[in-house]
Symmetry: C3
Subunit: 306 residues, 3 copies
């Protein structure tokens, strides 16, 4: 690396003492023990969230602008393996300011960022919507351009796409967007994806917090590149029983046009042991009339974030 | 991830500033230069301990309970490679309290935790017991349930096993335990393993510290799933010459039933340059009468921990 | 690991609280968007420097000696992938003092350490010398012994090689050295490599800082193990337009004996947004008369170090 340029002088000393203060090391360790119908009792990573370790940091650029980076690798507590791409969860560089924020690199898609937020069962391995079919939406994509607006009167939006030269041969761009609304007891989101294979997916979701319970619902429609349109929905409620204990119940339904319907009912409880550690437990009972076998599950798990 | 649940509120902000204080980044860089009989002089990773980098942390859950995690990856200073599973050394989540401690995930086995502690030659690449045969005991296992008791009057014990659903097809559980005793000059341990392939191994070890020297001895018996019973033992002594310099001598012997005996004699010295850096040197002379070739070794190395 | 030896006592507690203060976590996130002739606009990692994350630390050994380690992994912000060897950029252990410094393990070669320092275009993906042919010199090598002298009157030197036992079967040692001079406005370096395949390369480079511009030039001659001698050179200038903005222009030329000449002209600008974030832009126009196709490039990128 060039050592003499003034403009690059600090870069050349990459990682001096100052570095320490600008990086946040964070992560999750999440594991559950349970039984999936037809299998023996086993230990599985990531009931509520995949285990991971990440590095992120920001720098004030002046003029209201902030530079940021995020490198995040998922890992599997069952065996210590990471994604073959190591930093497959997040590997991006961004800048934010009054205009919103832009991220470049591998990151979640705009659809993914709202996909789970309205799921009952804490968007976990216990959620009823595990029976949703044709849910091969893209959670993360390579070489993304991601733009998020600032929040305005409860509204915010984001869009992600790829450059022409970053498409695979013969494939299209992975493009998606979302619009969110959050104001007092009301939450809502719309998300849309047109993936590299031409599959389109649309999510419409809403929640209303009654205080004694928060009602949740969403509809997801997907038109696969090959195969029939699929309509899926779910409804549920998160019920705070104490300040630490929340119960969540949900029902989900999914139908591929011209085929039978799959459905499931789930109940889960999450108890906050501390600021960073949660225990969770529950079950999901499935009723699949399609060709797929029921995968009823009972689970007890721990989620520890750091 | 669900953003609205009170119980999950902190989880959703995974990796906030607080995170920084709860994670310890640690590791080892260990490399030796030496000559193995029949080879040229070379550089080899991990004379005393494999090079590694790890992340661990704890959280006080109140009521005397502590949550903890540990992600640890080994690396090879020869070429920078890590284990294909990245966090193959440790990937687990635990809780400890007055009852002892429980760990879930990939970790060392209970047998491994006492296997090296009574070896002469600092349990290094110079130790005499490198000639022990059929020592394919399991040092780490996936999806383990690991329980360790508190210490009581110098005694402590641990056991590790796997759930039914985490066995490989047609294989058994990897199960092991140990009992340790440490009181004044006396140390002792018993360890036992019944591995996934049905191989059984038993370790009995003891030490006595005379002040001018610490005597060490252990016996390991293994009954491979295929092949004959193997009996191995070693004796040795660690002699502190100064506060920083320790000499260790050892003799090891190993015999597969019905076959010839292998033995070795080793001498090693370790000198503490500082709190975290040690230089070590020594040799092992082998006398293998079995089909295996002698692998006499001369080595000088450095172990730096951080 | 052995727990009882005094000399190894601290090693056994590897990763205690003290560890925290001795490790520096550092890295680079660098991404450009641009167009290479014949391709569509795309996002590419590492315009100025490959994205990376690293861990390094030092320990004062007393007597003027310092122990150090460095583990560094490259990553690709396009998709989050790291080198298959994970810590493929740096994985070494060293000691330094009045005698200079010694590093053992995987590291850059002595030639690599001066190879880019005299390149125009900030030694980036925009540099004119991308047209240099037979530049398969070894940037990093496994199991290296690396020695660097202290600086004396502006002069310093380094040499790297491998042990006999660390050569691949039928291959030679990777050996290289450099001598550098830096004093006031004058900079110069000579570098030489004799690689594992017997290819030899020689770099002679110099710079002179006029204040209003820094002139740069280098000549690289390589004698491949198979094929003809290749002579390459480049000239350029870095022009500081403001304290934050630097313009760099360069011309490079490369000729394989008996074949046609390739050349290129490049212009690049680097603007320091802050201490750790730089934006860069530029183009390189190629004129290749050899069998290779022109790979003219236009790029705009961001380099963020932490």
């Amino acid at each position: 690396m060039k050592k003499s340029l003034i403009a690059l002088a600090v870069l050349a000393t990459s990682g001096a003492a100052m570095a320490q203060s600008s990086v946040t090391l964070y992560g999750v360790a999440d594991l559950w023990v349970g039984k999936v119908k037809g299998s023996s009792v086993q230990m599985v990573d990531g009931g509520v969230a995949q285990s991971r370790i990440g590095f992120k940091g920001t720098e004030d650029l002046g003029g209201g602008l902030t530079a940021s980076f995020n490198f995040e690798q998922g890992l599997n507590l069952e065996n210590g393996a990471t994604d073959p791409r190591t930093f497959g969860r997040q590997a991006n560089l961004g800048v934010s300011g009054a205009f919103g924020s832009v991220k470049l690199g591998r990151s979640t898609t705009a659809l993914d960022d709202v996909f789970g937020a309205f799921n009952s069962g804490f968007d976990s391995a216990l959620s009823a919507n595990a029976v949703w079919q044709n849910i091969d939406y893209t959670d993360r994509a390579d070489s993304q351009l991601y733009y998020a607006t600032p929040e305005f009167a409860g509204f915010s939006a984001a869009a992600s796409t790829q450059l022409n030269g970053d498409r695979a041969a013969g494939a299209g761009r992975e493009s998606s967007f979302h619009v969110k609304y959050a104001n007092g007891p009301i939450g809502a989101a719309v998300g849309y994806e047109d993936d590299a294979a031409g599959q389109k997916g649309t999510l419409v979701a809403a929640s209303y917090d009654l205080g004694m319970a928060k009602l949740l619902g969403s509809v997801y429609t997907t038109k696969p590149d090959a195969g029939a349109r699929t309509n899926s929905y779910q409804i549920g409620a998160d019920v705070p029983l104490t300040s630490a204990l929340t119960l969540s119940v949900g029902y989900a339904n999914s139908k591929v046009k011209g085929a039978e319907t799959d459905s499931a009912f789930g109940v889960a409880a999450a108890y906050g042991l501390s600021k960073r550690t949660i225990v969770y437990a529950g079950f999901r009972a499935e009723k699949r009339k399609s060709a797929l076998a029921d995968a009823d599950v009972f689970a007890v798990g721990v989620n520890h974030s750091f």
